[in-house]
């Protein structure tokens, strides 16, 4: 053992102690940044951009970047000048190291150095102990972490409820707002195919996941949109109350079946409850949903004669009409047999927003513009917004 060995061991002790202190500060910064991020998410999801404390996309970015930028401030927060001695005392219960540090150039120097080296070696094997952050500091870090977790879970729950999905960044609210506000301009441009807007009850929030039933989501009693009226191909427009889920053709088809077969028939599918295709009792070669003349009676299977194949095209039209009504908030009046032109116009209107382009220009500082141009030249498409 030499004096330099003890010096190296002491430097190691100081580095280990500093590392643990910085580790605790890193955790403190992480939970604080997590809390700030969660709060920004909650504000962005819960409040409209126009409100006083509502966060825009830029505001969200600024908050997150500021929280991340605080890392050096956390790490370099002032340490007490006694931090080194505290670390030594924590690993030196017999004051051997401190005695060696305070003794300079005397006859007992070698003996003190030997004892200090032994104490440092033992402390190194034990891991130099842990610098104890104050109890208040530990509680504060745990409280901040817990608060961040609660706020984050709340923000995600609210985001899911609002229809934004899981939000880890600023949620794009424009999509839902656009869908909810489509009725105005649509009604103005196409008065012939759009009926009057239905009044939305005050207690119904726009865009809630439960409020929408997309095509194929099944029927809903009492919802006129759930069963688009294609009219009765056989000429009967009047439907019996409570039979909305049963298309006219199938109902007559069931009536033609005797006894047990009649009870096993599923509504509107042309299939039995067990899934087997049910054929009329008279044994005629007729497909499900067609009457004796070969004319289809089930919505989506409309046509006359065997030359017209069963096609889902009409059913697609019904689904489209229903979805248009759901997303625009207005009922449509495409009619029982809309022409291809009307349907085409409606489709073009429905998807028109996907082609929307907005060009904005703002004054840019010439120096910054030059820097951006050079940056764009260097990074190409990766640097584009």
């Amino acid at each position: 053992m030499t004096g330099s060995d003890a010096d190296r061991m002491l430097a190691r002790l100081a580095r280990a102690d500093l590392g643990k202190r910085l580790g605790f500060r890193l955790v403190a910064w992480a939970v604080t940044a997590f809390l700030a991020w969660s709060l920004a998410l909650l504000l962005a999801v819960a409040l409209p951009d126009a409100s006083v404390i509502g966060l825009s996309a830029r505001g969200f970015t600024v908050v997150v970047m500021a929280a991340i930028s605080a890392l050096p401030a956390f790490l370099a927060a002032p340490l007490p000048a006694s931090a080194g001695l505290e670390a030594v005392r924590h690993a030196d219960r017999e004051a051997a190291i401190e005695s060696w540090l305070d003794y300079h150039g005397g006859p007992a120097g070698q003996m003190l150095e030997k004892r200090a080296f032994e104490a440092l070696s033992i402390a190194a094997l034990a891991g130099f102990g842990r610098p104890a952050p104050g109890k208040a500091a530990r509680i504060a870090v745990k409280a901040i972490a817990l608060a961040g977790l609660v706020v984050f879970v709340s923000a995600q729950a609210l985001s899911l409820r609002s229809g934004y999905g899981v939000s880890l960044s600023w949620p794009d609210k424009a999509v839902l707002d656009l869908a909810f506000n489509r009725s105005g301009p649509t009604a103005g441009h196409y008065p012939g195919i759009v009926a009057e807007e239905r009044a939305v009850p005050d207690n119904v929030e726009p865009g809630l996941p439960g409020d929408r039933r997309y095509a194929g989501a099944g029927t809903e009693d009492g919802d006129p949109l759930a069963q688009p009226d294609f009219g009765n191909a056989a000429g009967g427009d009047a439907e019996e109350e409570g039979s909305a889920a049963v298309p006219p053709g199938v109902r007559r088809f069931e009536e033609a079946m005797p006894g047990e077969e009649k009870r096993q028939t599923a509504k509107g599918t042309g299939m039995s409850a067990e899934g087997a295709e049910v054929r009329p009792a008279d044994g005629a070669d007729r497909s499900a949903g067609r009457d004796a003349s070969g004319k289809a009676q089930v919505p989506g299977w409309e046509g006359t004669g065997r030359a017209i194949d069963e096609s889902p095209l009409v059913d697609y039209r019904a689904r489209f009409e229903r979805q248009l009504a759901e997303t625009s908030g207005t009922e449509t009046t495409l009619g029982s047999k809309p022409s291809a032109e009307v349907v085409s116009e409606a489709i073009a209107e429905y998807y028109a927003s996907f082609d929307a382009r907005v060009a904005l220009e703002r004054p840019v500082d010439p120096g910054l513009a030059l820097a951006m141009q050079v940056w764009m030249d260097a990074f190409g498409s990766e640097a584009s917004p």
């Binding site: 970047m65 002032p78 030059l370």
Partner: protein, 208 residues
């Protein structure tokens, strides 16, 4: 006693935040005042001059902090509050950048602006307020002045170098390389600041 210490820490951090906002405004005012003079200058000179203005303002804050620490008899380690002030400067600068260029590319600034500002503040805290090793360089106030001047030139060169490369000669790997270099420098400077301030009692024993 602990309550007093906590109150003192809270006041110190509030003062650091205020100093950071003031420093940012001072940088912008001085840069704005110098803009007419630099209007006809080449782009590289303008960028280098702006970096020099920012570092000079930061050094001014560090010198003021060092003066008041000695005047009030506070621990030299409090000089690292200048790093917190520079983090505020970086946050405000990033916010102004996002306001003009609202793209996700702004997040790369976390590897540039923040370490450059905070690293320079750590360097100035080391050179202006924290104890120096005895015997190097020789001399009293002159020794400190030399160390401060060297630290200023180093910070200016580092800052201006990254600004020039990013603005005039960027290359695809620059964000990653720049972030790695800046973070490494910042980590070393912060560790040195903490060792020099918190573990000075061990340094003073001349053992390490």
């Amino acid at each position: 006693m602990k309550a007093t210490t906590r109150l003192g820490n809270a006041v110190s951090f509030a003062a650091a935040i205020l100093a950071g906002a003031t420093l940012y405004l001072a940088m912008r005012v001085i840069a704005g005042a110098a803009r007419p003079a630099l209007a006809a200058a080449p782009e590289w000179l303008s960028l280098a001059a702006n970096a020099g203005i920012e570092e000079a303002a930061r050094l001014g804050l560090a010198l003021a902090v060092a003066f008041w620490l000695r005047r009030l008899g506070l621990e030299p380690g409090m000089a690292s509050l200048g790093i917190a002030a520079s983090c505020i400067v970086a946050a405000l600068e990033n916010a102004s950048y996002v306001a003009v260029f609202p793209t996700l590319d702004a997040y790369w600034r976390l590897g540039y602006a923040v370490p450059i500002h905070a690293g320079a503040a750590a360097l100035f805290a080391l050179s202006t307020a924290l104890p120096l090793r005895d015997g190097w360089p020789p001399g009293g106030k002159a020794r400190r002045a030399v160390v401060v001047a060297v630290s200023f030139v180093a910070a200016w060169t580092w800052h201006a170098g990254f600004n020039l490369v990013a603005a005039l000669a960027p290359f695809p790997a620059l964000p990653v390389v720049g972030t790695a270099l800046n973070m490494a420098a910042l980590t070393a400077l912060v560790a040195a600041t903490a060792l020099r301030s918190g573990y000075w009692s061990l340094h003073a024993s001349r053992r390490i």
